[in-house]
């Protein structure tokens, strides 16, 4: 591999790390850390491995069949099941997009001090302008790289000198002690949902088609999926460790999105605070764009419209209209005054319920020789794929009862 290519791959991985964390991860990782300490670190590992396995499959399907996953969902499962998947995924996409937009507005408020309700439309306007003007790679990279400012939480986690023995113990599966088991399970489900959000795989596969991936890019696909998500997982660990060290002993539940950056300020001063806020702004803003595009990709691919960010906007008009409408609806939802943190919790829990509809068709298509030829899933991918499908089915059934029984994790 030439140096140039290594650099390109490294840059892609960096933006994948920066793009890993969204508002769901921020909320669930800090709340889980603040509530049960290090005990659920192992669940993040499982979540990260799950999204890696399924993203790799999606990327492979896109590279070999040259078509994104949702395009094939309808072909493979038929109109009825395809439409049900479309409706479920659009509801989840919209809720997630609204939560991210709320997160952008809160972060802007902390940075600029203007009223929240003024910053909602301004934030949406800024995101729409970026999405309208910037080409696909620029969009991905700008938000991905600036999202890397979140690494400030990794520095903070180390500087806080946690008891590393206890941290290591948190990576042992099932190590529940003290506190309510139901709350523990609720956060486990939420963490899995936050790590494995459906929009990520839809966006990843459509992005791969837009980037013109072919069978020669299968190696790139594997490396980006594995390294990007695994290293992104370290950001999740950091958030949870920071919350466990700072919030848990004081009995603080970070109900506000502005609470975690204060830790960075505490440990690293003004610069830490600024980095944390910029990191959150771009991580969450990038996710807002990804969810709105994901919504548009799915709709266009189900109905067979022209689609793609690579097209001129007028060349794929209904696709363009769809992501603009996603942003508009998300803005309306947030303007009603609904609490973005609550909205995030709901969006993650509902996305868990819809997860089987996302992941089952992917597994079927990745095993279909008519589409994949010799690039169908190997044994390893299939064993993991099936194991995760079982996990997903279990948490999909458990998610809403757990949310109700624990009053959203408050016990």
């Amino acid at each position: 591999m030439s140096l140039r290519k290594v650099l390109a791959v490294a840059l892609g991985i960096l933006s994948a790390i920066g793009g890993f964390v969204d508002i769901g991860d921020l909320v669930f990782n800090t709340q889980a850390g603040a509530t049960v300490g290090f005990q659920l670190l192992w669940v993040v590992v499982i979540g990260v491995l799950g999204i890696t396995v399924y993203s790799e499959m999606c990327g492979r399907v896109s590279a070999v069949a040259k078509r994104p996953v949702f395009d094939l969902v309808r072909e493979r499962t038929g109109f009825g099941a395809g439409l049900a998947t479309l409706v479920a995924s659009e509801v989840v996409n919209l809720m997630t997009c609204a939560a991210e937009v709320g997160g952008v507005a809160i972060t802007l408020q902390l940075l600029a001090g203007l009223p929240y309700r003024v910053l909602i439309p301004l934030g949406v306007l800024g995101l729409v302008l970026c999405a309208w003007v910037l080409p696909f790679e620029w969009l991905e990279r700008t938000f991905g790289y600036l999202g890397l400012c979140l690494l400030v939480f990794a520095v903070a986690a180390i500087k806080l000198h946690p008891d590393w023995g206890q941290v290591a113990h948190g990576f042992v599966p099932g190590s529940h002690h003290g506190g309510s088991l139901l709350v523990y399970l609720y956060f486990a489900v939420g963490l899995l949902g936050a790590a494995m959000t459906p929009y990520e795989v839809y966006f990843y596969s459509s992005g791969a088609v837009e980037d013109g991936w072919g069978p020669k890019d299968l190696g790139l696909n594997k490396v980006t999926a594995i390294l990007g998500y695994t290293l992104g997982g370290f950001l999740s660990f950091s958030l949870m460790i920071v919350a466990a060290v700072v919030f848990l002993p004081q009995g603080i539940t970070p109900e506000l999105l502005g609470t975690p950056p204060l830790v960075a300020a505490d440990v690293l001063g003004q610069v830490g605070l600024l980095l944390a806020l910029v990191g959150i702004l771009f991580a969450v803003g990038g996710a807002a764009i990804e969810t709105s595009f994901s919504g548009a990709y799915n709709l266009a691919q189900f109905f067979g419209w022209r689609w793609g960010k690579k097209e001129r906007h007028a060349g794929a008009p209904r696709f363009t209209l769809a992501w603009l409408v996603m942003f508009a609806l998300a803005m309306v939802i947030v303007m009603t005054g609904v609490d973005p943190v609550k909205l995030t919790e709901y969006s993650v829990i509902f996305s868990v319920v819809a997860l089987p509809l996302t992941y089952l068709p992917i597994l079927l298509i990745a095993n279909d020789r008519a589409y994949m030829g010799g690039h169908v899933n190997g044994k390893f991918a299939n064993v993991l794929g099936v194991v995760y499908l079982v996990i997903i089915l279990v948490i999909a059934v458990a998610a809403i009862p757990l949310m109700i029984l624990t009053n959203g994790g408050q016990g």
Partner: protein
Amino acid sequence: MSKVVDVDIALSILDHQLVDADGKNCGKVDDLEITGLEGDAPEVVEILVGGSAWRSRALFGRLAASLSGDAVHVPWHEVDSVTSVVRLRRPASELRLDRGDDRWARIIGKVPGS
């Protein structure tokens, strides 16, 4: 493609992507019009795209169909090839398959930078 087609092959293209002569997406194979099903020589006459073509497709389809207009009928002889997508012989506009995208293209096209 030849006029006499294997109905099994035709049914397998249900829900596949339609691509026009210019390589542009122009809908999905939402339904098929087949004649002679009672006889021994059934034949696919038309591909139906959009709107009322969803009526026969599950409960959701009936709902979606009731909210939209008439389907576009594409005669089978307009089909150029069937691979993983169904390629048509003519541009979408000549087959009236561009109604949705073209209508919105005029509006979106007015925005700077589009």
